[in-house]
């Protein structure tokens, strides 16, 4: 577990007393929060989804299942818990938010359909949206009626977001949008999109961008699923042809979209690590269990000293990630703000997961990478891990951020 309770006060060893004030246990209030969450989840988490998602009918049903779950959360007061109360949230601390994530994972609750809405779009609307936008968008978002996606990256603007070329031209009281976006998660199920467009081609790159809130049912919006090397369609391309967006759906000021997008991305980077840790912990636990059942050349593979090294290395790597997450969480609980230190976590978990996905294949051997072994999860994890150092800011970008924004080295050329 990431966030421990209190340990039983066993007999302390002779010789020292623990008067350390650095303290990794939860406060009484936090423990109470956890119990409340846990109790609610026990009563409300639906049975896990187990059916395969081979056809579109199954996918539709799965989507409804996830949307119902979001509605259940909303009704229980557990949607957008970190948002301010006046906007429908619960105003919990960052540590409580982390406890919530941890409990969701422990309860094997369904995935969250609204992560982009809750984590990125909503907070940005709260930060820079008009009163009317807040009224219109925040509640449906929390209820799961609006599913959001983000339209930032383009084929020719990946790491270099400011280079994007999707254009919007003001025509009376609406913008006309033309262009293409890529890497849009949830694009196939979203009904709204936070879109960054170029509104001034003459201005310097960063200065001519604007953010729009786009109804995905608008005529001229086409979504094409994007298949990854894993075989999953986990992302999408969006095509915009003469799409009309009312001027009232401008988010923030015109030509100030760069700042709005950066605000949004900073919120995205503020991943607390808890959910990720628990996901990878499940992978590792199941690897350990699997390894204990396997024999190679006449003996259990867990007796092979080299296999033992690899399993232990995976374990320690993941544990160091947990501790880094805890430490970042503790730091953020003071500042209550994301910081460039988040880049360290991103860099750490992405490269760790790549190392560990590889080690799992080495431990299991060639049979273990088949799609017919444990549902193919080990081969899948390996392939999926290769995207970790690219998505949400490549490792190169993260190292630049650490060097420049954390260590204060000069901008590189």
């Amino acid at each position: 577990m990431v966030l421990g309770g209190r340990y039983p006060s066993r007999q302390r060893p002779v010789g020292w007393t623990a008067r350390s004030l650095m303290d990794l246990t939860l406060s009484a209030q936090e423990l109470q929060f956890r119990n409340t969450v846990r109790g609610w989840l026990q009563a409300n988490v639906p049975p896990p989804w187990t059916r395969p998602l081979r056809d579109s009918e199954a996918k539709r049903e799965y989507f409804a299942y996830l949307r119902d779950w979001q509605r259940t959360l909303f009704d229980g007061g557990w949607a957008g818990i970190s948002w301010p109360k006046e906007h429908g949230g619960r105003g919990v601390s960052i540590i409580e938010q982390s406890i919530f994530q941890e409990e969701l994972a422990l309860a094997q609750a369904p995935d969250r359909l609204g992560v982009i809405g809750e984590g990125l779009v909503g907070p940005t609307i709260i930060a820079v949206g008009t009163e009317a936008q807040k009224q219109r968008f925040l509640k449906p978002l929390l209820m799961g009626e609006h599913i959001w996606c983000q339209g930032f990256s383009e084929p020719d603007a990946g790491s270099d977001l400011a280079a994007l070329g999707t254009k919007a031209v003001l025509d009376g009281d609406h913008y006309v949008v033309n262009g293409q976006k890529i890497w849009t998660s949830f694009g196939h199920v979203a009904n709204w999109c936070l879109l960054v467009v170029r509104t001034d081609s003459a201005a310097p790159k960063h200065k001519g961008l604007t953010c729009l809130l786009v109804d995905m049912k608008s005529p001229g919006v086409v979504v094409r699923p994007l298949r990854m090397m894993t075989g999953d369609e986990e992302s999408n391309e969006l095509f915009f042809t003469d799409v009309c967006v009312p001027e009232s759906n401008l988010l923030g000021q015109v030509n100030q979209g760069w700042g709005v997008a950066m605000t949004a991305l900073d919120k995205e980077r503020a991943n607390l690590g808890t959910g990720l840790y628990l996901r990878y912990k499940r992978h590792l636990d199941s690897l350990l269990e699997r390894a204990k059942t396997m024999r190679r050349a006449g003996r259990p593979i867990t007796e092979d000293p080299i296999v033992r090294q690899k399993l232990a290395q995976s374990y320690l790597d993941l544990e160091v990630f947990r501790l880094n997450s805890l430490r970042t969480l503790s730091g953020m609980s003071h500042s209550n703000a994301p910081s460039p230190e988040g880049s360290i976590l991103k860099l750490y978990w992405s490269e760790m997961n790549q190392r560990n996905a590889q080690l799992a294949l080495e431990v299991l051997g060639l049979p273990g990478q088949s799609w017919d072994f444990d549902d193919g999860r080990w081969g899948y994890n390996y392939l999926r891990s290769r995207g970790n150092t690219i998505e949400a800011g490549t490792s190169e970008i993260q190292r630049n951020i650490i060097a420049q924004r954390v260590l204060g080295l000069p901008r590189s050329y």
């Binding site: 990256s153 084929p155 020719d156 603007a157 990946g158 790491s159 270099d160 280079a163 890529i182 890497w183 994007l226 298949r227 990854m228 090397m229 075989g231 396997m294 024999r295 190679r296 050349a297 006449g298 080299i306 790549q354 590889q358 294949l361 080495e362 051997g365 060639l366 049979p367 990478q369 088949s370 799609w371 017919d372 072994f373 193919g376 081969g379 390996y382 392939l383 290769r386 995207g387 150092t389 690219i390 998505e391 490549t394 490792s395 190169e396 190292r399 590189s412």
Partner: protein, 371 residues
């Protein structure tokens, strides 16, 4: 002293590259992948027509009488084209047959090299490893011949093979047994491979009747024939990885030169340059290790066994790294299904483990250097 390929060898390479890219562009490889038809007959006859099946075997048995450097040249191009099909399996089986002095070898080899007959080797026991001493599956006496019951795993292209050469024990001695794929009691179960262009099977043998004459070799002869054939097959796997690395190298450097971010080609960033430099270093080093191993094995150099283990260990480690860096330099697009990068990453990934991964090969090296 000449480390580079000779003129005829270079010509062979050019021919192989041209033939494969004409007949089997990656679009066609993807078509086969999509329908799971990695052993398409048209593919195989084209390859056999070039004389590449058994090109390292004697003319007397239908081979081209070339050496292992030439085999490596062709296998490298197979890797660079991400070719599906039973080339590796059949090369291995043909090499094994060629090591065995039996009427069956003389009978089968000409039709194998002609592309009419496909064969594969069923080596590894369930829960086994690549070490021959861990092969336990037994031939049991059954007058007048033998019965075979058990399960072999990681058998390459078993489904399309006409012949399985099954490595088993006759009491304590290793034996190589000829089993027709369609024999009663043989059943193949496809294990969907990470690399969809390469088919791996579990093969179950249930009281399969084996005639005395189908036990092709026993004891020391069987042992050394299998070992030598594994060396050749391992070499071919290294060559495939090398070819895949070469494709990634070319594709990645070109992408780094042309893809622009922040108003300049990404290849002008030091971080990308250094990734590319590492891809180059590793690919070229893998080339040196692989071709040296080919030369050493074909020349009976005293360090040939070591050279094969070194090439496989090295290619297994750096092949993976080259694949990873290739994806990373490409960014998101390199992670998509649409981009061809993953075909090569997956080809490398399966080859990494085939015939023993780096850890396993290092143990083989340790045995040789710590004697």
């Amino acid at each position: 002293m000449e480390f580079d390929l000779s003129k005829p060898q270079k010509l062979l390479r050019e021919t192989a590259r041209a033939t494969l890219s004409r007949h089997f562009p990656l679009s066609r490889v993807r078509e086969w992948m999509a329908i799971g038809a990695t052993n398409e007959d048209s593919l195989w006859s084209t390859i056999a027509d070039q004389g590449w099946v058994g090109l390292h075997l004697d003319n007397s048995i239908g081979g081209l009488g070339l050496g292992l450097v030439e085999l490596t040249v062709v296998a490298e191009e197979m890797g660079r084209a991400c070719m599906p099909g039973p080339y590796l399996a059949t090369t291995w089986a043909a090499t094994l047959l060629a090591q065995i002095d039996s009427p069956k070898s003389t009978e089968l080899l000409p039709s194998i090299t002609a592309g009419e007959h496909k064969a594969t080797v069923a080596l590894m026991d369930q829960d086994g490893d690549w070490d021959l001493k861990n092969i336990a599956m037994q031939l049991t006496p059954s007058e007048p011949g033998w019965k075979l019951t058990g399960r072999k795993t990681l058998v390459l292209d078993a489904d399309s093979a006409h012949t399985l050469l099954c490595v088993v024990r006759q009491s304590s001695k290793l034996a190589i047994v000829f089993v027709p794929r369609k024999a009663t009691g043989v059943s193949c179960e496809k294990k969907r491979s990470l690399d969809a262009t390469r088919s791996l099977y579990d093969v179950a043998f249930n009281e399969v009747t084996i005639a005395e004459s189908d036990v092709l070799a026993v004891g020391e002869q069987a042992h050394s024939a299998i070992e030598q054939s594994i060396r050749v097959a391992t070499l071919a796997a290294c060559a495939e990885m090398l070819g895949a690395m070469q494709w990634i190298h070319e594709t990645t450097i070109e992408y780094a030169q042309t893809r622009k971010q922040f108003d300049r080609s990404i290849g002008s960033y030091q971080a990308v340059q250094h990734q590319c430099a590492d891809i180059h270093l590793m690919t070229e080093s893998a080339r040196a290790a692989t071709y040296y191993a080919a030369w050493a094995l074909t020349s009976n150099a005293p360090d040939a066994c070591k050279a094969i283990a070194i090439a496989k260990a090295y290619c297994s480690e750096v092949g993976r790294e080259v694949g990873h860096r290739g994806v990373q330099v490409h960014g998101g697009i390199g992670f998509t299904w649409e981009h061809d990068m993953h075909l090569f990453l997956k080809r490398i990934k399966v080859c990494e483990f085939l015939f023993g991964d780096a850890t396993w090969q290092r143990e083989q090296i340790a045995r040789l250097i710590l004697k």
